[in-house]
Symmetry: C2
Subunit: 526 residues, 2 copies
Amino acid sequence: MKLTLPPLVSAASFQRALAAFERVVGKGWVLATDEDRDAYADIYAPGSENEWPASAAIAPASVEEIQAIVRLANEYKTPLWPTSRGKNLGYGANAPRMPGTVVLDLGRMNRILELDVGLGYCVVEPGVGFFDLYEHLQREKAPLWMSVPGNAWGSVIGNALDHGIGYTPYGLHARNLCGLEAVLPDGDLMRTGMGAMHGNHSWHVFPLSFGPDWTQMFTQSNLGIVTKAGIWLQPEPEATTVLTWDIPNEEDIGWVIDTVTPLKLSGVIDQNVFVPSWLGKLVLKGQRKDFWDRPGAIPPSRVQELLKQHNLGYWQAQVRLYGNEAVNRAKADVVQKAFARHLPTPPTQEHWKLGEPLSQFDITAGIPSAVPLQMSDWVGGRGAHMGFSPVVPASSKHVLGQLQRSRKIIAAHDVDFYASFTVSGRFATNINMLMYDRDNTEQVANIRKLFNALIDETAKAGYGEYRTHLGWMDGVNNTFNFNSHAQRRLNERVKDALDPNGILAPGKQGVWPSVYRDRAGKGGPA
Amino acid sequence: MKLTLPPLVSAASFQRALAAFERVVGKGWVLATDEDRDAYADIYAPGSENEWPASAAIAPASVEEIQAIVRLANEYKTPLWPTSRGKNLGYGANAPRMPGTVVLDLGRMNRILELDVGLGYCVVEPGVGFFDLYEHLQREKAPLWMSVPGNAWGSVIGNALDHGIGYTPYGLHARNLCGLEAVLPDGDLMRTGMGAMHGNHSWHVFPLSFGPDWTQMFTQSNLGIVTKAGIWLQPEPEATTVLTWDIPNEEDIGWVIDTVTPLKLSGVIDQNVFVPSWLGKLVLKGQRKDFWDRPGAIPPSRVQELLKQHNLGYWQAQVRLYGNEAVNRAKADVVQKAFARHLPTPPTQEHWKLGEPLSQFDITAGIPSAVPLQMSDWVGGRGAHMGFSPVVPASSKHVLGQLQRSRKIIAAHDVDFYASFTVSGRFATNINMLMYDRDNTEQVANIRKLFNALIDETAKAGYGEYRTHLGWMDGVNNTFNFNSHAQRRLNERVKDALDPNGILAPGKQGVWPSVYRDRAGKGGPA
């Protein structure tokens, strides 16, 4: 990819900045060739990766190097886009929001700094991936389980900072963050929570501070570069019981939600319950052309045939209970009775006890995997996906309304409908996976139009996305319109106070520093 | 109490400000006589209430009135100290940190705006007390339980914002806050989380936002006036089981913590487990003079006699299990086995089922009470208390170290030792109650010296307080010294950006706006 300079930076000044960065990290760790830039493109970009081009990347190895880089970035007015491991697929991978921004690749900072088995936490650097941590826990024979996202090749910290979701009792990853360290946009270094006291022993166990706690300010944020964080881990249970139901009909999601939510709120079910639709199973069995070889969305009649042929429900609901065997048994009984009020077929049951092997693809046991990435192959060609991800209250009224609205809009755009709901207690996240061939111009244009329509119609109905792709960050931010965008005003005031030169991740989640504020809404999708 | 003007405000300007405030709230709701000021004094002040005097109070009835007051406060440079119900006893009640600050009394804003039984939350204004909400739930026959602090005559929102702790599964009150509305220091109105979108249905169910979530920024904070908030409530359980152990010896707290923590982390125990020492029971049975009539701390030999006479353990540990009866039974078995490894005596058991009456003083069932306030009568005279409240990791090493350190310092000051630990999972809060007669100058001077010593020695050992009295906010803030007080620098930068005139709660938690920053450390204890 050819060089796109950062806005407001001349070619000469940019070269001087790169030379200065090299003096900090060493020549090998400033990456600025065309090939380097290709490596920092969004490989799932809906269209050309040139839409969100990085000008270069810098890979520091320490907090001190990051501080030095940030100070130089202020001096040279060079914007930086921090990424942990850059695996945020479907949301932009490691590409920056503003063309020409320099990626600050934290992948080399991959140390596991602390592991406290008794108190159930670790302290990691941003480059630590889920697989790294998993292997470390295995090696140390630490009786702790992780919570992982569906595709777990990314960073533990990066995923938590981006509000990622997992399928264990620790599934709201941002809330597992306890005490973090961040380099501020002026190069200052601070620690949140009890870590604000030098040497405090409670840094990674107490999730508040004396005064306001700033931890959540650094999530989905461009206000600091997180350099380490405490992550809470689940004690390995003595036993688990997995109950799985195939749920026959699309509209059944209503009673499934109304059954699971009270069990979640009353503490019978601890995990986030994932309820994917049939297409989530089919993408693992082959490509679209294996099941339907005509253009346009698979028609409902064919869907019914496929469900029968492959012995699938429209949805699958799976509940895992963790802990003491007798407690699990009593809980399983409560859960089964609740489901039996709606579905006569009993669930399949799987029982696991400490010491027995676990399936290597078991996401509800916190084992990292990238198996579901296979969905990108669904349409063939240079396949990719984007997720449309609104949050709804976990009740049938809201869930059915959301289902019907998305389905209608997606059908109107003649695209395969792949929905899932994850019940996290009082709310459910509804992920609508949209698959496309990046080289099919027509398909890409259609997906982009569809994505715009989904955001608009969903906001009109009173729901918002918890996360989105680079190209739609301004659009989604725009839907947060209470009191003429009061939250945006607050975001911008804090941004300008902490980052007067606007060097940190301009445009992230639609928050622009004053120097680039006129770019909001630009570089997004047509 | 005679008038103390706000700093930098002339008498004439102050009168003009009051007149302007009156035009907003009506004449009756600006309170500025000597008697009015008495009503806003810290009735538990360690010494004279004149140390933290309010100049006046204003009691608005609506968000619009608050916005108008805040704009006027900016115009007249009049600092405001928002209180919800002002019952923050032991931490300053409703008195302001900076002498002459005008109290903004939100007690009239006491509406319960929403109650969602299925999703388990309510939306309340800051003037809603725990008793108000309890009575509302009873009246509506809503199957929801609250979480209340030990003394529950305060505000639901106020307590959560001040990082208050309760003794149910919802005991970390700041984490029950989901979606709040706040008037910013310039009078702007914003909503956090999904509420940042007008009419969003997920405001009070999804605890994050698109972009950074600002909810926690408004806790223990002077960056906004919270005008309403979503509060999560616990679904009424079908049944509960209470297990109570008298724990014989002081050092037994070590194994108690090491027994409770793994049960909390593995999900067997959901609630915050409160472990008070014997004095917590004795303060309810009489005054100090009934048990020991000489000056100075009750000596250890007399303590042993009292424990025998009153049939008390040094500690009491109580565990409540909530939910389905069979699940509770299985859990109770696990808990009993764990305790039996250290203590042969079985616990007393109490079983409750839906439909049966609950004790009116049952804090673990979320029933508000002010019974423990009786401790203020312990020393006689115009009795009061302050709490020294460090947070420690929930393991014997840290808890025993903290116990021994506090005990030694408190004994060296010849003051009765009343400790409790509340195990909230990975951390425990250690409340050390210090009782005194406000009119006994010598006693007060000794308590103040003791408090300073506790803060200093505890910080040296690597622990910090989660909350403190007005007079020690600067002192505790000072102990948060990582990277030469980096958290304070961040607090101050955000403060100055959002509140350039420094009108909102100057000095709260040791955070001072630039205009009053030279006052940090002043007006605190000698």
